[in-house]
């Protein structure tokens, strides 16, 4: 790869600007030369960034354990490379898995309804042997990633900032877990790029571009999740949306998508059914609960203590102790006053 292309990509310009400069000047060498001669006006920060040598940039990437990949180079996802506005360069930590990929996205300001579903979808997608793509944001994105990590699946996080920038800070651990699980963290922005609002919409075309289907869990009428749905439609990627209350702000966007033709999805099984039409048959999986098998039998999706006591015919003290053991072994937890199963499942090929 030419050093000039790396220098240009590290300048911090908007992806559209980089593409149009390359189109005008033909090659990266000529573009960089034009910037240096002052023929192309850029601000001082960008000029200073472009002046840094390619060797210096490569050293920096090596320090982060990151690689930069050109379209049509090995490791650059084919489908993404085919887009007219494909990123000129992709910075990658880990390696992008080759299995079919599904994006699960949604609002940062999610409700517990969306959070629960996003986690469940993340788990279901991992168990089906597919790859989960999302944006590592707070709310739905993080919940979906977490579902994948819990199930030991592979995931790709597409960032709107540099690979070395922990944003949001509380998801730094989640990114590490993705890498441990043979997933990847991806960005078209060079290391050190701060999370600026204008960098996030372009990032969404990468999320949909990496995926064969996009699932929107919760979204307002404005916001990144609907942008992702729009780029998916442009790219010919099927869009799925989770219905919600008509009056609730966090479901207006998804309900609108359904009205406009998105495929509505219900529980995780329903999602897998629908996705298998797009992605081909899912891997047959067997879920193994780490805890005692009577957990699911007794509580199903969730139950109050009174219900558990009635089903198990136990005294109040015994019922509370039973739940305590589940909590201790991590097979169940509290959601409010309900006991819910904690999905700590590993998938095994049958």
């Amino acid at each position: 790869m030419s050093g000039e292309l790396l220098r240009l990509a590290c300048g911090g310009l908007h992806p559209d600007r980089v593409r149009s400069l390359l189109a005008t000047h033909g090659t990266a060498q000529r573009t960089v030369a034009a910037i240096q001669r002052g023929k192309v006006k850029v601000n001082d920060r960008v000029r200073a960034a472009i002046d840094v040598s390619a060797a210096e940039r490569r050293k920096e990437l090596a320090r982060l354990g990151a690689a930069c990949i050109l379209p049509r180079q090995a490791g650059y996802p084919e489908r993404l490379a085919m887009l007219p506005d494909a990123p000129t360069l992709l910075f990658v930590r880990g390696s992008i898995p080759s299995q079919p990929a599904v994006a699960v996205v949604g609002t940062r300001k999610c409700t517990s309804y969306g959070r629960r579903l996003a986690t469940a979808y993340g788990t279901a997608i991992a168990e089906a042997g597919w790859v989960l793509v999302s944006g590592l944001a707070r709310g739905i994105d993080g919940a979906a990633h977490r579902g994948t990590v819990n199930a030991g699946g592979k995931g790709v996080a597409v960032l709107g900032c540099g690979l070395d920038v922990a944003y949001p800070r509380e998801h730094a651990g989640l990114a590490d877990s993705l890498l441990e699980g043979e997933g990847a963290v991806v960005s078209e922005y060079p290391p050190g790029t701060p999370p600026e609002a204008w960098r996030f919409p372009p990032r969404n075309r990468v999320i949909s571009g990496l995926s064969q289907a996009v699932v929107v869990v919760e979204a307002g009428v404005k916001g990144g999740a609907l942008i992702t749905a729009a780029t998916a439609l442009e790219q010919g990627v099927p869009v799925f949306a989770v219905p919600g209350d008509v009056g609730r702000d966090t479901s207006r966007g998804t309900n609108l998508l359904i009205r406009d033709g998105a495929h509505p999805v219900l529980d995780p099984d329903d999602l897998l059914e629908a996705l298998s039409l797009v992605l081909g048959p899912r891997r047959s999986t067997r879920a193994v609960l780490t805890g005692s098998d009577d957990v699911t039998a007794l509580i199903g999706p969730g139950a109050s203590l009174d219900e558990i006591a009635a089903r198990a015919r136990l005294s109040p003290g015994e019922t509370v102790a039973l739940v305590g053991r589940w909590v201790a072994e991590g097979s169940a937890g509290w959601e409010g006053s309900s006991v819910v199963p904690v999905s700590r499942r590993h998938t095994t090929d049958r």
């Binding site: 940062r108 300001k109 999610c110 409700t111 517990s112 309804y113 959070r115 707070r138 709310g139 209350d245 609730r248 966090t250 109050s304 203590l305 009174d306 006591a309 109040p316 003290g317 015994e318 019922t319 509370v320 102790a321 039973l322 739940v323 305590g324 053991r325 909590v327 201790a328 072994e329 991590g330 937890g333 509290w334 959601e335 409010g336 006053s337 309900s338």
Partner: protein, 496 residues
């Protein structure tokens, strides 16, 4: 010529004897002076005493009269020293025969010599008992003080009868006596029976354990789940006050100018979150007055909507919760108020309150929920061993069978408390060293270790769970702490 009568001042909740000395001497000019840190009301006693003596057929000595209230450094307030001042003057002027063994008196005088009701009857009787003296009180306070055994309390109606020794034993048959001040109202908690609570297995069990070990309790649940009703069940589950505790409670309430009607039920106080700092922990100008934490001494302090309480109030609760007493320093006096209450806090799980609810979907954003939870966390929450969620009942559960009654549960609680008394410490107050020396079975320790590994238990939660496990074992009358006891404790500390 000297005359002396003992009276009482309340410092904090503690009665202190005040010696009222009168000295009458010949002088060129008439003089009537009161020394010994009197406030305005005490200084005005001059006029009331002068008129009351005249109105009762005595004469006020036309000489030099000096009244000394000792100890001189203790601030004295109110009209309650009228009667002792008048009696001391009569004694000093030889118009009255000195009673044998001395006298304790308290009461306000009307201008015609009638004795009016004041606060502090119980305190005066306690001082009289300590000194082995007779105690003259207005009718109301005398009835209040009659609960105290081993002291000769007499009810006086007017100054003349007091001076002549025409005093009667207090009349306790006429029922509740009107309070001396109109702002004082009788505060009785509505105490529910546990049998009225349907379903709520988790919360009922948590209440039983809280009552048995004295653990502080946090109830979290949707609006309308019945958190308040559950909290109101707690006083009934606790053992009745023993005579010593009863006296402490009565003194604290008397110091606050309040009166309890059912004396042996534990107090239940539920201050609103708009309460002031002084109302909550005690304070006020001059001599501090006890606050809600002291009124709840030996009882239950219920904080509804914990998240709505301002941070400074929650911080102020730390000392009373940790030390069982709160010290208030003022220019006039620095006092310690007892505050060994059991804390029951109720909160919504999130701003809208419906997290985990079975009927209504929670619509809070993650950020809102986080902010709400952050308000609840902190040092106060750290002291709360038991945290449970309360579910709203499904429609069919309203007609379910009635639960176990308060009396049935209380008998188990009393037995568990007895075991703790033998050990000498309430389970709530068990320290890490004491917990370590308990007898834990191997399986119990293994379960604790397992829950640390599965991250169900943090270092902070470690001791809380062990304290609760000890109480569960006490309820089961088990000498060792076994695996089921730990398991139960683990389920009862859901982190909100």
């Amino acid at each position: 010529m000297l005359g002396s009568v003992t009276s009482v001042a309340i410092v904090g909740v503690e009665p202190r004897p005040i010696t009222v000395e009168a000295h009458v001497s010949n002088a060129d000019r008439e003089l009537f002076s009161i020394v010994g840190l009197p406030d305005t009301a005490v200084r005005e006693a001059k006029e009331r005493v002068r008129s009351a003596l005249a109105g009762s057929g005595y004469r006020f000595p036309r000489r030099r009269v000096v009244i000394n209230l000792s100890p001189a450094d203790l601030p004295k307030a109110g009209a309650a020293y009228d009667l002792p001042i008048a009696l001391a003057v009569l004694l000093a002027d030889d118009q009255m025969r000195a009673p044998e063994g001395g006298l304790v008196a308290l009461g306000e005088l009307a201008l015609d010599g009638e004795v009016r009701s004041v606060r502090g009857g119980l305190a005066a009787a306690m001082v009289a008992r300590r000194l082995g003296r007779q105690c003259f009180l207005p009718a109301g306070p005398a009835a209040e003080a009659s609960v105290l055994r081993g002291v000769d309390v007499r009810s006086v109606d007017c100054l003349r009868n007091a001076a002549l020794g025409k005093v009667e034993p207090p009349d306790t048959t006429t029922g509740p006596i009107p309070e001396p001040e109109s702002r004082v109202r009788s505060v009785d908690s509505p105490v529910h029976d546990l049998a009225e609570v349907r379903g709520q297995l988790l919360a009922r069990r948590a209440l039983e354990i809280a009552a048995a070990g004295g653990h502080h309790l946090l109830l979290s649940g949707a609006p309308g789940a019945g958190k308040t009703m559950l909290a109101q069940c707690l006083p009934g589950l606790l053992p009745r006050l023993d005579p010593e505790e009863e006296l402490e409670v009565a003194l604290a309430w008397a110091a606050a100018g309040r009166r309890r009607t059912d004396r042996c039920v534990r107090p239940f106080r539920s201050p609103h979150h708009s309460a002031t700092l002084a109302a909550l922990v005690g304070g006020g100008s001059g001599v501090p007055v006890p606050g809600e934490v002291t009124l709840a001494n030996h009882g239950v302090l219920f904080l509804d909507e914990l998240g709505e309480f301002p941070i400074h109030l929650l911080d102020a609760l730390r000392q009373p919760v940790e030390a069982g007493a709160v010290s208030i320093a003022r220019k006039g006096a620095s006092v310690d108020f007892p505050s060994r209450f059991q804390l029951v806090a109720a909160t919504n799980p999130c701003p809208c309150g419906f997290t985990g609810d079975r009927l209504t979907q929670c619509e809070c954003t993650e950020r809102g929920r986080k902010r709400y939870r952050r308000r609840l966390s902190g040092p106060l929450l750290d002291r709360i061993d038991l945290r449970v969620s309360v579910a709203r009942l499904m429609p069919d559960e309203f007609i379910g069978p009635r639960g176990e009654s308060t009396n049935a549960v209380r008998s188990r609680v009393v037995a568990a408390r007895k075991r703790q008394r033998q050990r000498g410490v309430l389970n709530r107050d068990l320290r890490a060293v004491e917990l370590r020396d308990m007898r834990w079975t191997e399986a119990a320790t293994a379960l604790l270790n397992q829950s640390v590994e599965s991250q169900a238990l943090t270092a902070r939660g470690w001791n809380r769970v062990r304290r609760v496990a000890v109480t569960v074992a006490d309820l089961a009358e088990s000498p060792t702490i076994e695996e089921p006891h730990v398991a139960e404790a683990l389920a009862l500390r859901a982190d909100l």
